[in-house]
Each structure stands twice: as structure tokens, then as C-alpha cells.
């Protein structure tokens, strides 16, 4: 069997599994899996660029995904009129002061000669900058959060079409990645891992606590959609007539229609990304990246700028993760900072990349679909398994209750098991790098 045949077959199997969900459970569930699978595939492609092409160990995926989500709020939501009028400029000034408080000491550090005087100067500037920043920032925050805090209490967004938020999400994530890469990219792989893990936690902490920016744990809901609303569709006589003519129930048909619209948008993005990524991987640039990954010293001796290439690929991969994050938030229509969990948004994406096949774009896409399918379906499967195991036990027996209750946690166990098994028996993944 040729490689292409095998790979096609793998994709057919995965989509067969999803289709089976459609026949067995409902097409709503199946399309939900497809849509999140598309987003997962894009996230996996982002991580694959960093790990598969260049061997960079980034476990801060969650942070970039969350930044993408924040972008949909900043771009798509209408702005809060009172807040901008009251303190918008003050806030911008405060943020500017914040940046100055970081960059001025860095400049001083670069310009002055090493020694005690430099250390004192930098430290003093940092402390001074911090207090200046806080003195401007705190009142601005208070004022913004006071504006109608039950409904808004944050700056709001620019009120632009939400599709613009997708590239903006990628840009914001890229900006954050640039900052991180500048400080942490020179470090050894495990240090980079810990550093990115930390950054992701900090980004989530900021989004949870800075209510003026993202409403924090009060969440932002009703983020505008790029596709029609179910209720509007049901109110549209033309739509209702058409679907009833085809023999569908308007309520189900409207939800499926919306999911299909999202799916179509996501497919366009995914195909464009795959096309670009394949082009890049097959170009001299892609070969250089893999050369650097396989032997940094040799590549450097050949005159390749390893640091600059690492910086480049780290930013690109993170931008793709940010894009996926923006798409996900506009699919869900709400931003809940508390829902970002590292196991779900960082480590699960890693499982996708490793299982799919690191270094291969199609592998990452396949992994994204397969692992997302399993993530959704393991829970009912676990419940079914537990039902079967406990069938012989009498009702109310403590072990039966406990097992049934714990079935929900089968997910993590299964994902870990899959990762470990794949690493052991097929370390190059389902679709290995060519």
C-alpha cells in the first residue's frame, strides 16, 4: 500500500468515525466535532510548525489561544461609550507608561557599562517606573470598571466586523510571541518549556483579573458572529419554507445551517494554511528549518542564522495558535477566561501533534480531528464501559456509584495512555514526516 493510500485511508477512517457519530447520535454533535476538529487541526499545525519544523518546545499554547480569543472581544464588541470618553486616553497613557517602565531600563542596561552603577540605575528606574505606572493605571482602571459595571465595566472593542478579529488575533499572539522569544528563546529546551508554561499562566491571570480589558471572570458574551443567528433564520419565512420543503424541522435545520456556515469558513482557513505551510516546508526555507532542527551546530557552520530562524518560526507558530483561538471564541460567541485550562489547551494540542505525526502538516491535521473526536467521545464511552462493568453490582453499592461518577475523568487517563502508547510504539506518529 502506498504512503498516499495509507494517509487517505487514515483520514477516511477518522471522518468515518465522525460520520458514525452523525448517524448514531445526531448531526449536531457530529458537526460540532468537525468544527472544533478544524480549529484543533489549526492549533496542532501551529504547534507542529514550532516543534515539528524547528524543534522548539512550546507548552504555552493556551496563552496564545487565549490572546486570540481576547482579540475577538477587542475587535468585535461594540465600544463602551462612557468608558472611552471618561478614561480611554488616560488608560492609553498608563499603558504607554507601563511600556516605558520596561523599555527605558532595558535601554539603559544596553547603553551603560557593566558595573554597580548600572545595576543601581536599572533597579531604580524599574521601581520608579512601576510606581508611575501604578499611579496612572489604578485610577483609570477604577473609572472604567465603574461605568455600568453590571453590564459592561470594560473598555469594549472597536465594533468592527468580527472576521477582522481572526488576523488580529494572530497578530496579537505574534506580538506576545516576539516578546517571549526575545527573552526565552536562547534557553535550553526544558527551560523554554517552563518559561512558556509560565507565560501562558500569566496571560490567563491577566485576562481573569484585568476587568477593564476583558471583563475578567464576569465573561464577555454576545460576541458578534460572522454567520447568521439561529433565531433570525427561524424568523425568516424563506428559510423555513425551504427547509420544510426538504423535509427538515426548522429548529434543527437552523442550528445545522449555522454550524455548516462556520465549518465552511474554518475549512477555507485550514486549506489556505495547509497550502501555505506545505509550500513553505518544501521550499529552501523549510529544508533550512529542518536542517537547523536536526543539527544546530552544523547549520550554524553553514552560515544559517539559527537564532533569527527560531525567532521567526516561534512567532509564526504562535500566530497560527492565536488565529485558532480567535476562531474558537467567535464560534462559541463568548469569552470565559476561567475556562482556559492547560491540560485542555496546551497538552491536548501536544497529544494531537505527537499522535498525528510531528513534522508533517497532514499528520497534525489528522491528529487534531482524531484526538478531538476521542476527547468528546471518550466520556460517553467511559460511561458505557462503567455501566457494563457495574452491571452485576446492586444499585446503591458504593463502588458502583463511585465508578459511574468517575467515568467523566476517563478522558485524561485515555489521552495520557494514547500519548504514551504512540510514543512507545510509533514515535513518529500516524503520518510520519517524509
Amino acid at each position: 500500500m502506498s504512503v498516499a493510500m495509507k494517509n487517505t485511508l487514515l483520514f477516511v477512517v477518522v471522518f468515518g468515525l465522525i460520520a458514525a457519530t452523525g448517524f448514531q447520535q445526531s448531526w449536531n454533535v457530529a458537526l460540532g466535532i468537525v468544527n472544533m476538529g478544524l480549529i484543533s487541526a489549526i492549533m496542532a499545525m501551529g504547534v507542529n510548525m514550532q516543534w515539528g519544523y524547528a524543534g522548539l518546545f512550546n507548552i504555552g499554547v493556551m496563552g496564545f489561544v487565549a490572546l486570540g480569543g481576547l482579540a475577538t472581544v477587542l475587535v468585535g464588541m461594540p465600544h463602551t461609550p462612557g468608558a472611552w470618553a471618561a478614561v480611554g486616553p488616560g488608560m492609553l497613557l498608563a499603558l504607554f507608561a507601563g511600556f516605558a517602565a520596561i523599555f527605558v531600563p532595558i535601554l539603559v542596561y544596553r547603553r551603560m557599562r557593566p558595573g554597580r552603577r548600572r545595576a543601581i540605575a536599572v533597579f531604580a528606574l524599574l521601581v520608579l517606573g512601576f510606581f508611575v505606572f501604578r499611579s496612572l493605571f489604578d485610577p483609570a482602571v477604577k473609572a472604567i470598571e465603574a461605568v455600568d459595571s453590571a453590564r459592561t465595566g470594560y473598555l469594549g472593542g472597536l465594533g468592527l466586523p468580527v472576521l477582522i478579529a481572526w488576523p488580529v488575533g494572530a497578530l496579537i499572539a505574534a506580538g506576545a510571541a516576539w516578546l517571549i522569544a526575545k527573552t526565552a528563546l536562547g534557553l535550553r529546551s526544558d527551560y523554554l518549556a517552563i518559561a512558556t508554561l509560565g507565560i501562558a499562566e500569566i496571560i490567563i491571570a491577566v485576562m481573569k483579573n484585568e476587568e477593564w480589558l476583558s471583563r475578567g471572570v464576569k465573561n464577555v458574551n454576545g460576541i458578534p458572529r460572522p454567520v447568521p443567528y439561529e433565531l433570525d433564520l427561524r424568523a425568516d419565512p424563506g428559510f423555513v419554507e425551504r427547509v420544510t420543503n426538504w423535509g427538515f424541522d426548522p429548529v434543527t435545520a437552523s442550528t445545522i445551517y449555522v454550524k455548516l456556515c462556520y465549518g465552511a469558513l474554518f475549512v477555507v482557513v485550514l486549506l489556505a494554511l495547509i497550502w501555505l505551510a506545505e509550500k513553505a516546508l518544501k521550499s529552501p526555507w523549510g529544508r533550512m528549518m529542518r536542517a537547523i532542527r536536526d543539527n544546530e551546530v552544523a547549520a550554524e557552520a553553514m552560515g544559517k542564522d539559527v537564532t533569527a530562524r527560531h525567532l521567526q518560526i516561534f512567532i509564526l507558530g504562535s500566530a497560527v495558535c492565536g488565529l485558532a483561538g480567535a476562531m474558537m471564541t467567535s464560534l462559541e460567541g463568548l469569552l470565559t477566561p476561567a475556562s482556559y485550562q492547560p491540560l485542555r489547551f496546551t497538552f491536548l494540542v501536544w497529544v494531537m501533534v505527537i499522535v498525528g505525526g510531528s513534522g508533517n502538516n497532514f499528520g497534525a491535521v489528522l491528529g487534531g480531528f482524531l484526538i478531538w473526536f476521542l476527547w468528546v467521545q471518550v466520556e460517553p464511552l467511559g460511561l458505557w464501559l462503567m455501566d457494563w462493568i457495574t452491571a452485576g453490582m446492586s444499585d446503591g453499592y458504593w463502588l458502583k456509584d463511585h465508578l459511574l461518577e468517575s467515568a467523566a475523568h476517563m478522558r485524561l487517563l485515555t489521552m495520557g495512555l494514547i500519548l504514551v502508547l504512540v510514543l512507545r510504539f510509533s514515535p513518529r506518529g500516524l503520518i510520519p514526516e517524509r
Binding site: 518546545f57 489604578d138 526544558d190 508554561l197 509560565g198 499562566e201 491540560l343 497538552f347 476517563m410 485524561l412
Partner: protein
């Protein structure tokens, strides 16, 4: 008088909690650093190993409590600790046999082992949630306080009270004992010396007849003991919730790296550096400052440098600063 009040407030809200927290981090970081020194990879499953150890101990504690056994003023969990250590040791030895041993034989790159440990982390996390559930569990019993705030106020006549929780006292005593035991083992016993030799130069150690599998096995057992003690102490002091143990991974790794990965002494110092920075930067200093400053200069705000939710940011900042200026950590670990 004001000065004494300030000192008491400082001890009550900063010194004692940070010392206890630092001891817990140090024990966790010791485990990470030992694995790094002997097995040469960063073990991401360490937080969940701690959770597993704490969980086994909690189950044993409940068993003891059910049987009516107690330690009086001390928490029963101390009595259940050996069971927890044994259970965790079995688990990590099993994981080593089933998973890590294969990669050791292949001499796989450390980063592969790190990814493998991510898989193990998932599984342990799932296992703990599967057995005990994702919710908070309380298992502390015995006396809650060694020194009560009100008793202290009456005794000293100060306005500020000083409270020392039993869990804090136990944490500090236990940490000191464990560290003394560990260093005695590493420096004085034959096995400990062979471990250090293996950590310093694997090939040389193999040439001189040290059995690597034995070294690895003993390392895992020690790590299991350290992780369980750290997990139980943290659980007694705060509360047991599987997810918080996962989140401890960041400060623990920060401690180990700040101290110098692979250096046991560094892990301890790193633990306290991280704990004290976290607590001092996120503590609202208003109370202490009002005693120290003249009335006219009373601080208007809380004088809190960062809100408590940003405590991760603190360990992270220290980590980055140390890595930028002294990449091998304070005590130059083996990771250059």
C-alpha cells in the same frame, strides 16, 4: 510598641506562611532536581505525583480515622504517611518499568523523556481524579493552632495577634528532618555516594561498577517519599485539590531552576527564594506600614505591589531574571 506590632504582623502574614510554603516548594523542588540529576530529564508529572501521594495518604487517613486511631493534637495524616509513600513508590517504580526504562535503554534525547512525562502527567492526573474526584478534600484533624492569635494578644498585650497553625509548624519540622535525612543519605552512605557519582559522570560511575538500575530505583523511591511528604504537607496547610497540585509545577520548577537544576542545596534555597518573593510581593503591606510610619504618612491604599492572582507572575519573573543573568542557577547545577 508600634515597632513590635509591626514585627508581629510581619511574622504573622509574611514570615511564617512564606517559610511553610517555602519548605513545601523546597521538598517538591528536591524531587524535581533529583530526577534531573540522575535520570536527566525535567519530570512534568511531578506535581501529579505529589497529588497521588497525598491522595493515598488521605485515603489511609480516612481509614485510620474510621478505625478510631488518632495522634491527639497532631494530624492523623502523619501516621498514614508511610502508606502514602509506599503507594507512591510502587506507582513511580511501575511507571519507570513500564514507560521510562525503554527510553533509558535507547538513550533517547531528554526532550523525548519530557514529552513522555507529559503523557504520564495526564495519566496520573486522570487516575487521581478517577479515584478521589476533582473536588476539595479536607483531611486535617488534631489541634488547628499551636499558638492562637487571641492567646498571643492576651499574653503579650500587643494589638496584633500571632497565629501559628499546626500544619505550618509540622511543615517546617518535617521539612528540616527530611532534608537532614536526605543529605545524610547522599553524603554519608555508600548508596548515596554512588547516586552522586552517577549524577556527576554516568560513564565513570558505570566503569567503577555502580549498578545503574539500582541507582535509578533508589532515586525513584526517594522522589516518591519527597513528593508524598511535600504533597501531604501542602494539603494539610492549604487543602487538597488535584488541580492545584498541577499548578504547583510552575513554582516548583522555578525553585529548582533558580537554585540550579541538579543541585539539592540549590533546590532548597530556590524554594525559599520563590516562596518569599511570592508572598512579599503579593502581600498588602498597609498593616505593617501603618505601625512603622508616622501617622501623617499613613498609606492610603493597600500597598500591595501585585494582586494575589499574579503570584505565578512573580515566580516566573524571578525565573526569567535568574536565567538571563545566571543561566546555571544560584548554585550552578549541572545544566549549563
Amino acid at each position: 510598641m508600634d515597632f513590635l506590632n509591626a514585627i508581629v504582623a510581619f511574622s504573622n502574614f509574611v514570615l511564617i506562611p512564606a517559610t511553610a510554603y517555602g519548605a513545601q516548594l523546597a521538598l517538591g523542588a528536591l524531587g524535581v532536581t533529583l530526577i534531573y540529576g540522575i535520570l536527566r530529564f525535567s519530570n512534568f508529572a511531578h506535581g501529579d505525583t505529589m497529588a497521588f501521594g497525598a491522595m493515598v495518604t488521605i485515603l489511609a487517613t480516612w481509614g485510620l480515622q474510621g478505625a478510631g486511631v488518632s495522634l491527639g493534637v497532631l494530624p492523623t495524616a502523619l501516621l498514614a504517611l508511610p502508606v502514602g509513600i509506599a503507594g507512591t513508590a510502587l506507582l513511580v517504580l511501575g511507571t519507570d518499568r513500564a514507560i521510562y526504562a525503554f527510553y533509558r535503554e535507547q538513550r533517547a534525547k531528554p526532550v523525548v523523556l519530557v514529552i513522555v512525562s507529559m503523557g504520564v502527567m495526564f495519566m496520573m492526573n486522570g487516575l487521581v481524579r478517577f479515584i478521589i474526584g476533582p473536588d476539595d478534600q479536607r483531611f486535617a484533624d488534631g489541634a488547628r493552632f499551636i499558638v492562637k492569635a487571641r492567646d498571643f494578644k492576651e499574653w503579650s498585650g500587643l494589638r496584633e495577634g500571632l497565629a501559628i497553625k499546626t500544619s505550618q509548624g509540622i511543615t517546617i519540622v518535617a521539612a528540616v528532618l527530611v532534608v537532614i535525612l536526605l543529605f545524610w543519605f547522599l553524603n554519608r552512605t555508600r548508596t548515596g555516594k554512588s547516586m552522586r557519582a552517577y549524577s556527576d559522570n554516568e560513564d565513570l560511575a558505570l566503569l567503577s561498577g555502580i549498578n545503574p538500575e539500582r541507582v535509578v530505583m533508589i532515586t525513584w523511591i526517594i522522589v516518591a517519599a519527597l513528593a508524598t511528604v511535600a504533597g501531604v504537607l501542602y494539603g494539610l496547610d492549604k487543602s487538597f485539590k488535584p488541580f492545584t497540585y498541577f499548578q504547583l509545577l510552575l513554582p516548583i520548577f522555578a525553585s529548582a531552576i533558580v537554585g540550579g537544576l541538579g543541585s539539592p542545596l540549590g533546590a532548597i534555597v530556590g524554594g525559599f527564594v520563590i516562596a518569599f518573593s511570592e508572598v512579599t510581593i503579593t502581600y498588602a503591606w498597609k498593616k505593617v506600614l501603618t505601625y512603622l510610619m508616622p501617622d501623617s504618612l499613613d498609606p492610603s491604599g493597600l500597598v500591595q505591589l501585585l494582586s494575589t492572582d499574579y503570584k505565578f507572575a512573580v515566580s516566573f519573573m524571578i525565573l526569567v531574571i535568574v536565567l538571563l543573568f545566571r543561566p546555571t542557577g544560584i548554585f550552578s547545577g549541572r545544566a549549563g
